[in-house]
């Protein structure tokens, strides 16, 4: 049938378009990988000789080491606090009616659309006014606010999908609210909590614009250190670091997809 040939052709064109788009998405990562293993200090394609020396240089660079260390501190604190605060509030949002519910929710979700440079400037001015200027506290507080919406959504979706009859059964058998929470609700929520924490941690570790405003030399995180490096130097150490970043992030995403089901978390499971 001519119809089916036409449809097959259309399908082929569609596949080609999708491949081109995937190529666009992968291109920078592929190119940066080639540059990282290129022996020459000046960018050149195709590379004449290969080497690992840029990786060694990236590992040895003091600002990267300190940025990594500072980033871990900020990320550990902010993602964990955001997880606790966000999970508790998601529970309250899901179960209870109370005054100003929508308003508080809107305020907590608003960092999703407010530019990070505005949030960063706000925390910078605030910190200067209360004398916390350039401390870890202000960086962590800023990151908590920025990642909280993601935790809130992730846990809220899990709560929506949770069957409350288990909790009612436990309660009717005489379990106290605390016991129900610890033995029933929390274990059932675990995947949502883990994915919320993982996303919060990854976003915090990579947060750049707001961090640029609120960090000082002593507290600068890895993305800020990388930005300063790109501005000052042109050698491929940054490419080497980027490769480590890309591989590490992709590994975490593959893990998240295998164990937590990314399409469920992102709500793109298709109906039929």
């Amino acid at each position: 049938m001519p119809r089916s040939t036409y449809q097959r052709l259309l399908g082929l064109v569609g596949k080609l378009v999708v491949l081109l788009i995937l190529g666009f998405l992968v291109l920078p990562a592929a190119v940066v990988t080639i540059a990282a293993f290129n022996d020459k200090a000046i960018l050149s394609f195709p590379p004449q000789a290969w080497s690992m020396r840029w990786f060694a240089k990236a590992f040895a660079y003091q600002d990267f080491r300190e940025g990594f260390h500072n980033g871990l501190i900020v990320t550990a604190w902010s993602s964990t606090i955001a997880l606790v605060v966000g999970a508790m509030f998601a529970f309250v949002l899901d179960r209870y009616r109370f005054r100003f519910k929508r308003l508080i929710e809107a305020v907590l979700l608003s960092p999703l659309v407010i530019p990070h440079f505005t949030v960063g400037l706000g925390f910078l001015i605030l910190a200067a006014q209360i004398g916390w200027s350039r401390s870890y506290t202000v960086v962590i507080a800023c990151h908590i606010v920025l990642v909280l919406p993601f935790v809130l959504r992730s846990v809220y979706v899990s709560l929506r999908n949770l069957d409350q009859s288990y909790e009612r059964a436990a309660a009717s058998l005489g379990a106290s609210p605390l016991r129900v929470m610890v033995t029933i609700t929390l274990p059932l929520l675990l995947p949502g909590l883990v994915s919320g924490w993982l996303f919060a941690a990854m976003l915090s570790f990579n947060e750049f614009t707001a961090s640029l405003f609120v960090t000082a030399q002593r507290t600068q995180t890895l993305p800020v250190a990388m930005y300063n490096y790109v501005r000052e130097f042109a050698d491929p150490s940054m490419a080497a670091l980027s490769v480590i970043y890309i591989v590490g992030t992709a590994a975490l995403i593959v893990f998240a997809n295998a164990y937590l089901g990314l399409s469920k978390v992102l709500n793109i499971e298709h109906g039929r």
Partner: protein, 284 residues
């Protein structure tokens, strides 16, 4: 604590404190935007409207226009490029293909702006990948200038907003009931007609959500216009940073933030309104 709402106070208080902290930071920006700049001092002067009248100067008005233009171009391009990918992601039959697509789409979301922008510098630079390929193939004699152009900035920004666009489109597409498409096809509509008259209109909520978010994210971008624009393509974010950290004029930087926020709200509400009109026209 009422017995019918166990944990209510304990669970709600920390979040309310966070909300207040954030509001305090935003109030600080708002307050500073109405304060006078005292050169050489980090403390602001008295209350004034001068910052906002200064925004009307052609130099700054130009940056506002450029910013909106870049945001608009980026959002639309991301929509057009992201749609087929979202469609493929939702329709992929094999679980492996779906996983691969998902990982490729989602990974850049968590790479951070600096790594992605740096990668694009290597792709677009005068000694970069694209120019090297074109020169070696003999298609061009001189490197094409991609860096420091609006084109270069938009290409990199499209890459930044793509994951979130695809995720939002895919979420909307996955909730489109396929029976409608099957019905249209069984009544003789070709694949393109089915797409234009059934799938696309039904995925409009995702389109609006995606374009809105892409616009807001582009507005928020700093490293990409800073490094790829190189001072020749300026967005509001770059101006805010420059004013804050080069001339320590925090009051004026704050007024730019406030005006920028107002502008985003206006543009996004207009977009929402237009899309509602569109949906009202749709069922005929």
């Amino acid at each position: 604590m009422s017995p019918r709402q166990p944990f209510f106070r304990t669970f709600a208080t920390p979040a309310v404190l966070c909300a207040f902290g954030f509001l305090a930071a935003m109030a600080a920006v708002l307050q500073f935007s109405f304060r006078a700049y005292v050169p050489g001092s980090l403390d602001p002067g008295g209350f004034t409207l001068a910052n906002f009248t200064d925004l009307l100067k052609p130099l700054y008005a130009r940056v506002f226009l450029d910013t909106v233009w870049i945001c608009f171009l980026t959002a639309i391009t991301t929509l057009v490029v992201g749609y087929p990918l979202a469609y493929a992601l939702v329709r992929a039959q094999s679980a492996i293909v779906k996983s691969i697509l998902l990982v490729i789409v989602v990974t850049p979301l968590f790479l951070g702006e600096v790594v992605r922008t740096y990668s694009w510098i290597i792709v677009l630079g005068n000694n970069g990948f694209i120019n090297a390929v074109l020169l070696n193939l003999g298609i061009i004699r001189q490197p094409v200038q991609f860096m420091f152009t609006t084109f270069g900035v938009v290409v990199a920004l499209v890459h930044v907003t793509m994951p979130v666009m695809v995720i939002m489109l895919a979420a909307a597409l996955s909730h489109v009931d396929r029976d409608y498409q099957r019905a249209a096809a069984s009544l003789g509509a070709g694949p393109i007609r089915v797409f234009l008259t059934v799938t696309l209109p039904l995925s409009m909520p995702g389109v609006v959500a995606g374009v809105t978010t892409a616009f807001a994210w582009t507005f928020s971008a700093f490293a990409t216009p800073q490094l790829i624009g190189g001072g020749r393509v300026n967005m509001i974010s770059n101006l805010v940073y420059q004013l804050g950290f080069a001339s320590f004029n925090f009051p004026f930087a704050a007024s730019l933030c406030v005006a920028g926020l107002a502008l985003t709200i206006v543009v996004l509400s207009a977009l929402r309104l237009a899309s509602r009109r569109l949906e009202a026209i749709e069922p005929h």
